[in-house]
């Protein structure tokens, strides 16, 4: 037949800062252990073993809600300075910026929600410490995880069209071969490392999340290496009792870290409320770089691990955030 073609209508000029190779991803997934092996380890070991300087890292959900804060603090504590990341964040993204951990970002939203803009993000970007910023919408970034999770090069969307957000992204607009109308293609984002906090997991990595799942389902399946922290480590029997509650199956997981109050100062659905005083305190202080340094020294560099962090917060104080069973 005569050669048929489609027009490429627009190409985002942003860089694909984490190029994907779906066949290489398949090889890695093939090599992951399929037997049930105990993957429990400390946050220090998990981070040291599975995150390398320069890696592309994603953190789910975000700063104040079901966020792997104990692992985020450990990443900062171990002194990474050139990570690349998918920046959909609040408190955790602000901390990574404050500690100059990230050099390149796929960006959708970084701010402090009700507390306004992130001063540390402004400093790290406006100062030029962050060398590349590529723009995306929230849905687009989640669809990038979804494409990787499907094992395909892209997902189609009708978002981002006609805007500078698209122009400064790495998306492409083509003529739809079925409708002839412009459609935006969002490229897959295969993360080097995904970091997700869950309500409960067994030692093999089968995970359950209560309440909304954010983008945990997609990110777990889009990651070459996956580090899980869990409020509670449960018997596999509990997983087997309700297999339809499993959102992340064991074979995706590389490390399981037991982290009670792992989302502090954020909240954890059904377990504890957020520590508003701590959050407000930090956010209001974060205008002042010196106060930020002091905060990092006290809460991250000044403690060896999550256990010491929890001692510093104070066990009684933590208990006060617990949600009483209705």
């Amino acid at each position: 037949m005569a050669e048929k073609t489609l027009r490429i209508l627009e190409e985002g000029q942003g860089a694909l800062i984490q190029p994907f190779d779906l066949d290489a991803f398949r090889e890695l997934n093939r090599a992951k252990p399929k037997a049930l092996v105990d993957k429990r380890m400390s946050e220090a070991e998990a981070v040291r073993t599975f995150i390398r300087e320069g890696d592309y890292v994603g953190i789910e959900l975000y700063g104040t809600v079901r966020c792997p804060m104990s692992l985020t603090r450990e990443i900062i504590r171990q002194g990474y300075k050139k990570l690349r990341s998918a920046a959909q964040g609040v408190y955790e993204a602000d901390l990574l910026a404050a500690a100059s951990v990230v050099k390149e970002m796929d960006w959708t939203y970084i701010g402090l929600e009700v507390y306004g803009v992130s001063h540390n993000l402004r400093r790290t970007v406006e100062s030029g410490y962050v060398e590349r910023v590529v723009e995306w919408s929230n849905a687009a970034l989640a669809w990038r995880f979804k494409a990787a999770a499907m094992g395909v090069p892209f997902v189609a969307t009708r978002s981002m069209l006609g805007t500078d957000t698209l122009k400064y992204s790495a998306a492409k607009v083509i003529e739809c071969p079925f409708t002839g109308e412009p459609v935006c293609l969002i490229p897959a984002l295969v993360l080097d490392v995904g970091v997700i906090h869950v309500n409960r997991a067994d030692r093999f990595g089968n995970c359950q999340i209560d309440g909304i799942t954010g983008f945990a389902h997609e990110m777990a399946r889009a990651s070459k290496r996956l580090i899980i922290s869990a409020e509670e480590i449960v018997d596999t029997e509990e997983i087997r009792r309700n297999p339809d509650r499993t959102i992340i199956p064991y074979y995706l997981v590389d490390a399981v870290v037991h982290a009670p109050f792992g989302s502090h100062p954020g909240e954890m659905n059904g377990l504890y409320e957020r520590d508003e005083e701590h959050i407000r305190g930090y956010f209001t202080e974060s205008k002042d770089p010196e106060k930020v340094e002091a905060y990092l020294d006290k809460w991250i560099y000044g403690v060896k691990n999550h256990e010491e962090y929890l001692d510093l917060v104070g066990r009684e104080r933590l208990e006060s955030f617990r949600i009483k069973e209705a």
């Binding site: 009700v114 978002s159 981002m160 069209l161 006609g162 909304i212 954010g214 997609e218 409320e273």
Partner: protein
């Protein structure tokens, strides 16, 4: 704002809430939109279904959420899913109202929440699109809430983060965006604006109490369409203020 019965934020919340009709859905971000939706639910739109970006649908808003993903966004909710389920519902046309804001807005309702100055060497780095671009692309009617000033209401935004009517009539459809959607109202501390059906440019609809047309013009950095007859927004009623303060935001997190 001579009248001390209410502050500008309370006024904008009341005006925004009045724009929503009952039995519809609203895509809710943090802050003012949440209060507006909650107030609408308690005033004239008991069947307004709130959808929260990270997966909460049909929540009973006993307490105001502090984050678009927190527990309160699906408190006694009908469905707790994830961001893509919500975004795809919006892409499929299920969401009537979306709320937006920004550092800059142009005559076509295009918004900038990304950078002031050059993207790669920004004077000011702003929070970014977040769900804004998706809301502006998918929701049938977006309601923009901003303080009005010549600095923020500009002829051309430094960065077009979220689509309004882009360059005018049919521009959205030509770009491939869903048909028939776009900016519906702009609610500010000075008044409420809509968009002319033919030119898709911003048009003054109604002035806030004590505000003059000239004041609005002075605080708009582009040629605003001003019809012969301009409406006048009613002040927040005592009932609106009571529900807002005692019921909607009894913890006074936002007002």
């Amino acid at each position: 704002m001579a009248d001390a019965r209410y502050n500008p934020t309370e006024l904008m919340i009341c005006l925004a809430s009045r724009q929503m009709s009952d039995g519809t859905t609203a895509f809710i971000g943090t802050g003012v939109p949440m209060l507006a939706a909650s107030l609408a639910q308690k005033m004239h739109a008991p069947n307004l279904a709130p959808l929260f970006e990270f997966g909460g649908t049909g929540a009973i808003l006993e307490k105001l959420p502090l984050a678009v993903g927190d527990m309160r966004t699906y408190n006694k909710g009908l469905h707790a899913s994830g961001i893509l389920d919500i975004m795809e519902s919006a892409q499929r046309g299920f969401v009537e109202y979306g709320f937006l804001g920004g550092a800059q807005i142009d005559p076509y309702g295009n918004l900038n929440t990304t950078v002031i100055g050059d993207h790669d060497h920004p004077k000011v780095r702003l929070p970014g699109s977040g769900g804004g671009n998706d809301v502006g692309s998918f929701c049938w009617r977006t309601i923009i809430i901003m303080r009005q000033s010549a600095r923020s209401f500009v002829p051309k935004v430094d960065f077009l983060t979220t689509p309004g009517y882009l360059t005018g009539p049919d521009a959205r459809e030509k770009a491939g965006l869903p048909k028939g959607a776009g900016p519906y109202r702009v609610v500010t501390d000075l008044g409420v604006m809509d968009f002319d059906e033919n030119t898709r440019r911003m048009r003054l609809m109604a002035l806030n109490p004590g505000v003059t047309v000239d004041q609005v013009k002075e605080n708009t950095g582009f040629e605003l369409i001003v019809p012969e007859s301009v409406g006048r927004n009613e002040e927040p009623t005592d009932e609106e203020l009571r529900i807002l303060r005692e019921d909607v935001d009894s913890e006074r997190l936002y007002i």
